[in-house]
């Protein structure tokens, strides 16, 4: 109701003022605001802002873990800090942390291990100021190995947390 009343009152007030015989016309700034068109571009999503190119850099969108460990290594710190900063700058931006495990052991237990790694990354992001609502920690267990040989190098590459952003 209030929204309808206000313009009506304005019209009444204007009418009361406009008692001169001559009609005058004036183009005001207010008029151009009414007729102007502000373009909206959703071709890149209605999202929270541009996703910086560095998030696609493989050296900056994964963190690695030691065998049977869920501790964030020191070499992972700058990576986590950068992602936390991005999430703080773009508060509606969402990220999925995908935890992974090497091929040894049962599929379900490895799924739980991958989850524990994803959770470790999530906690670290929160400590750096990211909002919990922005982060989903999931696990792919040993189902998505980046490297498929049964070697220690491969295992190390598969003990990993990945940052995955929606476009």
């Amino acid at each position: 109701m209030k929204k309808l009343l206000l313009p009506s009152l304005l019209i009444l007030a204007l009418g009361a003022c406009g008692t001169t015989q001559e009609e005058t016309a004036a183009v005001t700034d207010a008029d151009s605001q009414q007729t102007g068109v502000k373009p909206v571009d959703v071709t890149r999503g209605t999202g929270p802002g541009d996703l910086p190119a560095w998030v696609n850099d493989p050296s900056r969108n994964s963190v690695f873990f030691d065998y049977d460990s869920f501790v964030i290594r020191s070499d992972a710190r700058p990576i986590i800090d950068a992602h936390a900063q991005l999430l703080a700058q773009q508060p509606t931006r969402k990220v999925t942390i995908q935890g992974n495990a090497d091929e040894r052991g049962s599929r379900e237990y490895n799924l739980a291990l991958g989850q524990k790694r994803a959770e470790a990354v999530r906690s670290a992001l929160r400590r750096q100021g990211a909002n919990d609502m922005q982060i989903e920690a999931v696990s792919l267990g040993k189902e998505h190995p980046r490297c498929t040989a049964s070697t220690e190098t491969c295992y190390a590459e598969n003990r990993r947390g990945d940052f995955v952003y929606l476009r």
């Binding site: 040894r104 599929r107 989850q115 989903e136 189902e143």
Partner: protein, 453 residues
Amino acid sequence: MSKIHVLSIIRLLSTHYAMNNITIFSRIRTVFGSLSRLACTLLLACLAAGAHAQLDITVTGSGERLFPLIVPIFENEGSLPNSVSEVVRADLERSGLFRLIDISPLTLPESRPPDLAAMTARGAHAVVTASVVGSSGGRHEIRLRLFDTTRGEIGGMSIQMSPAQYRLTGHRIADYIYEKLTGIPGYFSTRIAYVVKNSQRYELHIADSDGMNPQPALRSPESIISPKWSPDGEQLAYVSFEARKPVIYIHTLATGQRRVLANFKGSNSAPAWAPDGRRLAVVLTKDGLSQIYLINADGSGARRLMTSSGIDTEPAWSPDGSSIYFTSDRGGSPQIYRFNVAGGGADRITFEGSYNVTPRPSPDGKKLTFMTRHDGHFRIAVLDLASRQTTILTDSSRDESPSFAPNSNMILYATVAGGKGMLSAVSVDGQIKQRLSIQAADVREPAWGPLLK
């Protein structure tokens, strides 16, 4: 897809001699007691035919002296488009308990008592007589009697079938003979589920327990794990990664209808049907690490069952529904625990070694199979719950996902050979080993379905 388990009618005929099953079973055990160390390999020709590759089954580890049995070609079997007796013989032979004596082209009509002296002379300890009789409306009836060569008739049955049901009919007859001679229910008319990986495509397959008649239930570009049969054998719960995260689905096989059981924030995995089929134990991470929850089969009412500061996963119900076995790292290394559903704490079940996971209790509740790490190798073990005795049953290095046959006597599991996943089965005493493989495909995540009444 037509419903595979369209019930055939089984009714018992007269049992003239009240034969004690235990007697014959103990005879089989005696034969096993004197097993030769020489392993023989029976390669059953389950040749790949048609669009879907079949599982080839190899039986190893049986002795040279098995229970000798005659299952002849049925009288009038030529009136059927496919042989039923061939399915019966293959099932019994594959069980690793029997040696089938071939008397073809001789048939032994059900209507006449067999010449037991002549059959004994051929080395048989038991003989089947069987005929295909009458057919009406495209249906046939098979009548069959079972004889012990020293004690006479020990049982008989009649089964009605349509020609298309020749495999299921053969499996049901094999189940009957197996149970009569061993005292243990057969498992041939059951089905198995498993996942086939072909390059980057995953398929959930359902096959007969002999690996024949495989049918794809689901095709996906992403992994599928942890298939679990509903107690009525009509549905499968499984974890699919098609949404780029683990989500639990329930899939009705006959209709192909599938619905999401659990898709909470985080990971959703390790479904386990309660014996009543109305609830499932699942693993969710919505409150942090992997923890066990109870959820109704319609996806409602998820509630946390236990709280630990570490990983709790791989729940499996005891057959009476009173407790849940699970894997937990609460003690520092992954071990198996048991939790009383009515309340109370969790008891640790495994103590040997630093990696014991994937607990699966036997349907009779007497044993627990699990995956164990031994000298760096992953193997399948079985624990006798009464004596607390653990036996390691397998000897390769990447054995996982054990699943009991419904008669509690065999364990199906996944293994890797030549860089390729395949399925194997081992008897709970470790004596009989079977290998199920598909040429050029990676097979994993087996689940043995329930006995259908």
